[in-house]
Point group: C2
């Protein structure tokens, strides 16, 4: 797995052309040592600065076979939180917007929801109250509103919703509100032999509905909160059904647990944006050899949202306090990103 | 994910050379339509016959962009049972041989094991009695003997054991008793854009100790039975520890459940050898489009072992009965395999 030829081949997949060049980091258009490549493997939406420099240096060092920080390709694992790290999470998690629409659609059949939390708050339009109940409430809403469907049926429902729903502030499709710099980062890491995983508190089947198309991440490289699945025969046909029983909450301490269980290799680099990602970054960077933690700090009230310590959604306090001592990179969205949204060409 | 250039690139990774040729199936040295390739992507240990022909045809049809059975690369998922499908499982699961040695090593510190099942049978040398207690007993033994270790510590223990242990009949290292035809099959499928997963009742961390080197399968593409992991701080350092609490048994109905949960995409082709694989093959082949189930039938008492309906380990009865009606391929090891063991060059 460590042979240079593998590295070149991995890069070629992204480059869509057999360019026999060994990459040493993720370039921007301004890099002096330019090599022939498509724009998809550059970090052109990242402004020059300490954040970009630290990440590019990390990638270069860990992929240099002659360096002390070299990481064999089998161990090049990169993990990304989703909400607030890969796409916007304000004023509420996208999955919550989906659930609100689903609960409204199913309201007539469930009169008990009018007086049961978190459904009652949700039906009253009190998104803050629902968000304040945390990922567990989100899991309960997913389980209660979607139990009994197969994962394939559920994902079709999500995709149909994404085709019609629009963000209340931007008017964009939700899957257009992914961060262009982070899509570039995913491509850059993959071009350098890293495999990219989502590790999110969101429901795994919700993310699996769109992450392939939007992020280029296959379904098995997505770790999220899950309800249990049940095997049953429907008219003699074996069927796997989503149940209402929560199996695993992939947040906080659950993130390194989920990584150990599902990936089985400690990541080399971890990206997050909230204190729900703290343990994931801490465990990642506690490993031996070259490791890096990266926090996306939401500082741009003009192009996105500015929030951290006081936010119900995506609260970031401990991470900001401890990042300097832990050597974590803090990305200042207003300063470090030349673009927020926008598909790559 | 479906562009021909991706397919070529995927093949090139295995070929260790940038040969711009679109594969159509897995050739043997005798194939008339030979293309330049290394021996690693051939099925040279597979004799001509209905089993090999059916699998080669399936791979060719599902990777032909012009055909009705074409499968986009993102959906090319192949799953393999481990014990009895990728390596030998007689006279007992390899993991059980490992556990016996570990229990003996830890016996003095655990006097209660002398009278508690499955430890008591194990310490009396009654492997059959232990095996008859099934995968759950195996899980309990793993949990009880290895709780409190990190996954990394546990895997180091397994690797050290593999370096010294020898099979009582063959005298071979256990990781030399992998089936050469199946290693060829893994390489063939990967050369054709399939991603290969292990889905086994064995403990996931046991398999993760050797599957990368032996099968070329990374840790995240291994699904197995698991004990829960716990996050704790050891002297302030975040650590993930294996607990004694069984979380998931990946056998029988658990196999399609594990696939739905971990992989999230229904496989196109599934390989097994026992009735513990029945539900995995049934769910795989119940999906829409081209699907294939393959059973490895242990028929070779000379070069390996011959067993099926009456065996405690790897019992195969229902699968044999229903394979013809379900269109599953049954591989006759004595007839279809020209070699059993032996590393590829």
């Amino acid at each position: 797995m460590t042979k240079p030829v593998r590295l070149v081949a991995a890069a070629c997949i992204l480059y869509a052309a057999a360019i026999p060049v060994l990459l040493t980091g993720c370039a921007t258009a301004r890099d002096s040592r330019a090599v022939a490549r498509s724009s998809s493997a550059t970090l052109e939406s990242w402004r020059e600065g300490p954040a970009r420099a630290a990440i590019v240096s990390f990638v270069a060092r860990t992929t240099d076979p002659a360096g002390v920080d070299f990481v064999p390709e089998a161990e090049r694992i990169a993990v990304f939180d989703n909400d607030g790290t890969l796409w916007s999470e304000q004023p509420m998690y996208v999955q919550l917007a989906f659930i609100i629409d689903r609960v409204k659609a199913l309201r007539a059949a469930h009169p008990e929801w009018e007086t049961t939390e978190p459904f009652a708050s949700l039906l009253k339009g009190d998104a803050k109250a629902v968000a304040a109940q945390g990922e567990h409430a989100l899991g309960a809403l997913v389980a209660a509103t979607h139990g009994g469907m197969t994962d394939e049926e559920f994902r079709a429902t999500v995709r149909a919703w994404l085709d019609t729903a629009r963000h209340p502030k931007t008017g964009l499709r939700y899957d257009e509100m992914v961060y262009r710099p982070m899509v570039e980062m995913l491509a850059c890491l993959r071009a350098n032999g890293y495999r990219t995983f989502i590790v999110s508190g969101g429901g795994v089947d919700f993310m699996r509905a769109f992450a392939g198309e939007v992020y280029g991440i296959p379904t098995d490289q997505i770790i999220g909160s899950t309800a249990k699945y049940r095997h049953e025969l429907r008219d003699g046909v074996p069927t796997i059904v989503k149940t209402g029983e929560i199996d695993f909450v992939d947040d906080g301490k659950g993130k390194p647990v989920g990584i150990a269980s599902r990936i089985g290799t400690r990541p080399r680099i971890a990206f997050g944006n909230s204190d729900g990602d703290f343990e994931m970054l801490a465990w990642t960077t506690a490993g031996q050899g070259a490791r890096l933690g990266v926090l996306i700090h939401h500082t741009d009230a003009t192009r996105e949202w500015a929030y951290d310590r006081a936010s119900h959604v995506g609260k970031l306090a401990r991470g900001l306090d401890e990042a300097p001592a832990r050597g974590w990179v803090v990305v200042d969205m207003a300063r470090d990103w030349a673009a927020i949204y926008g598909k790559l060409q």
